[in-house]
């Protein structure tokens, strides 16, 4: 970035040299604080029972879980939780949240497909201190007679300045 600033300054000087009269111009460039994204919690759909009828498990951004179709949500094991992230960066800036279209979860043999979800539109505005948090939930598709077991998958979430 320093190299760009120097090149700009030369450009400015050489342009001014072609002018007949001198002029002063303010040159201003702001290098924004780099974005730092930190994951606080993973996305956990908890436990549920499959059946002969396919269905979904939906986890919203407020950690509320609902089951549709032949799926029955159960209150055992891990507590359902959406993923939670912290962003640090330029105060009062708005950043885009990038999530994959879908993610595969596997128990080693069988798979389920997760469609992640986040804010709509997919962005978050940092506060005056340059920080913000946001959540990622999703919809998990459960097949008829989905094999039992613990399913895991990993995906990347990123933030970029708009």
């Amino acid at each position: 970035m320093a190299a760009f600033a120097v090149a700009s300054a030369f450009f400015l000087l050489s342009t001014s040299a072609h002018a007949e009269n001198s002029a002063t111009v303010n040159v201003d460039a702001r290098v924004v604080t780099p974005l730092v994204l930190t994951k606080n919690t993973d996305l956990n759909f908890g436990s549920f029972a499959a059946s002969g009828v396919a269905g979904t498990v939906v986890l919203d951004l407020a950690n509320s879980r609902t089951a549709t179709g032949g799926v029955t949500a159960l209150a055992i094991g891990a507590t359902p939780s959406s993923a939670n992230f912290s962003v640090a960066g330029e105060a009062n800036s708005t950043v885009s949240i990038n999530i994959p279209a879908n993610v595969s979860l596997s128990n080693g043999a069988a798979t389920m497909t997760l469609v992640p979800s986040t804010n709509s539109p997919a962005q978050v505005t940092l506060n005056g201190s340059g920080s913000a948090t946001f959540a990622v939930g999703g919809t998990l598709s459960v097949s008829a007679n989905q094999a039992s077991g613990n399913y895991t998958g990993t995906f990347n979430v990123s933030v970029t300045y708009q």
């Binding site: 450009f11 111009v25 040159v27 924004v32 029955t72 993923a83 039992s148 933030v159």
Partner: protein, 170 residues
């Protein structure tokens, strides 16, 4: 001081040049997605719910099989008779270890012998639970008893029917 346009264009160019690399930077975090699909519920009833031999009288009555003790009792015109095994049904459940399962019984089941029928009702597991908790091994066994209504001069015969218990995780 004269003002002219060219330096302003340079100014805006400098702003873009300086800012573009920073705006292109993304910060990435990996996140795990987790879910557990529990072991499906299954059940079998190796022992039927058997009311045994019953003698019908001139007035209606009932025969009850107690789920806990396995003993039979009679009311009204129905009389207990020996000679055939009697007792509650023994049901074995399997599923997700340590999970609670709710048990739902139909209000009544019709048992038939050819054109003749009787109605069994009052299905109940020993201790009257409406749920059972699977052990750490994911199994649990329980007994189911009931009562059958015997009509006045109920025709003789072997009566049979099917009781369907609905199981679901709580």
């Amino acid at each position: 001081v004269r003002k002219f346009g060219v330096p302003l264009l340079v100014f805006s160019g400098a702003l873009l040049l300086g800012a573009r690399p920073a705006f292109a930077e993304a910060s990435v975090a990996a996140v795990d997605a987790l879910a557990r699909v529990v072991v499906p519920l299954s059940a079998d009833a190796p022992t039927a719910l058997r009311f045994g031999n019953i003698a019908a009288g001139p007035t209606p009555g009932t025969i009850t099989v107690d789920a806990g003790s396995g003993t039979r009792s009679a009311t009204g015109g129905a009389v207990l008779a020996s000679g055939a095994p009697a007792g509650p049904s023994h049901v074995n459940l399997s599923g997700e270890p340590s999970q609670q399962v709710s048990l739902t019984y139909p209000a009544s089941v019709v048992i038939t012998s050819g054109p003749n029928s009787m109605t069994a009702s009052g299905f109940v597991a020993a201790g009257s639970p409406t749920s059972a908790t699977l052990t750490a091994l994911g199994t649990v066994a329980f007994s189911v008893g009931a009562q059958v209504n015997v009509g006045a001069l109920q025709p003789a015969g072997s009566y049979a029917g099917t009781l369907t218990v609905t199981l679901s995780y709580q």
